[in-house]
């Protein structure tokens, strides 16, 4: 119950304002720390050579691309069920960030693919499903910006997010069925010893933490912006109505 009080816009604004500096700082520390660690102080992989350093960008971005969508899905459900405005706006705020993460995963992957697979792009299932995810992000963002009335937009985009998630899962299986790809299997599983040596593992975890924190900071800040934009819209409408 008590958690819901943060869904009150003004309460949310004051609270997020208070914690945001900390989140920004932590994000910067983890991100810069992890990337510097990974870039300067880790050895090359015996197979992949120095390209293993792309790992520190590619994997966290890929993880966040999926998690951002998951967060939007949860926020959409909260909006649909409990109609908390902040949660709808948080979903809206997260979408461009998630899209950017998807772009980073795609671009770093493509650049990585050139030396590893000899081509920028192959229609591998994982790559393909990321592309589809990117399309979902685009559609979602376009839908938000195409609708004037914020509540209508929130309703429609939430349902879109729901339906989209189901179909994104379906596509994931479809692509797997369609083509067995070149891409690495999941190596970040719990029995990490088996897959990734500690030298790569620790900076990678730092980078992942950095990406997560950066995402949180961005979403909190952007949600605040959306709340203000909405308040401004309401005030302007009201000013017009009084005039």
């Amino acid at each position: 119950m008590s958690l819901w009080k943060y869904s009150n816009p003004s309460k949310f604004l004051t609270t997020s304002e208070r914690i945001l500096p900390w989140v920004w700082t932590l994000a910067a520390i983890c991100l810069i720390g992890g990337l510097v660690w990974g870039f300067f102080f880790t050895p090359d992989d015996y197979r992949m050579g120095s390209t293993v350093k792309i790992f520190y960008l590619h994997v966290p971005a890929a993880l966040m691309a999926i998690n951002a969508w998951l967060m939007m899905l949860i926020a959409s459900l909260i909006w649909l069920i409990r109609r908390h405005h902040v949660s709808a706006l948080a979903a809206r705020a997260a979408a461009p960030v998630g899209a950017a993460m998807t772009v980073i995963a795609l671009v770093t992957g493509a650049i990585w693919g050139q030396p590893m697979w000899g081509t920028w792009w192959v229609w591998d299932p994982r790559l393909t499903s990321f592309l589809i995810l990117f399309l979902f992000y685009l559609g979602y963002i376009a839908l938000w910006s195409a609708i004037e009335d914020p509540d209508t937009a929130a309703d429609l985009t939430s349902i879109t997010c729901l339906v989209g998630s189901v179909f994104a899962l379906l596509s994931r299986y479809a692509v797997n069925f369609w083509n067995q790809g070149l891409h690495q299997g999941a190596s970040m599983s719990l029995d990490k010893e088996q897959n990734v040596a500690n030298v790569f593992w620790f900076p990678a975890v730092t980078c992942i933490a950095g990406f997560v924190l950066l995402f949180v900071a961005l979403v909190l800040y952007r949600t605040g912006t959306e709340i203000r934009a909405r308040r401004m819209r309401a005030l302007l409408a009201r000013e017009r109505a009084v005039a």
Binding site: S50, T51, V107
Partner: protein, 56 residues
């Protein structure tokens, strides 16, 4: 200082550049819009409050 990246130097550096550019763009756009909306809201709030004051 600079680690030896071997024959993959281009690849690694470009992916870092690309990622930093995209992240930087998102952060910059976030702040840019955040600042602007904050300023506009302050202005509108001042105006509306002023009007409410004169109207009684």
């Amino acid at each position: 200082m600079m680690p030896d990246l071997g024959k993959y130097a281009d690849t690694v550096l470009w992916s870092y550049v690309a990622a930093v550019v995209v992240l930087g763009a998102v952060v910059a756009m976030t702040f840019w819009r955040g600042r602007r909306v904050r300023a506009e809201l302050a202005e509108v709030e001042a105006r509306v409050a002023g009007k409410a004051g004169t109207n009684g």
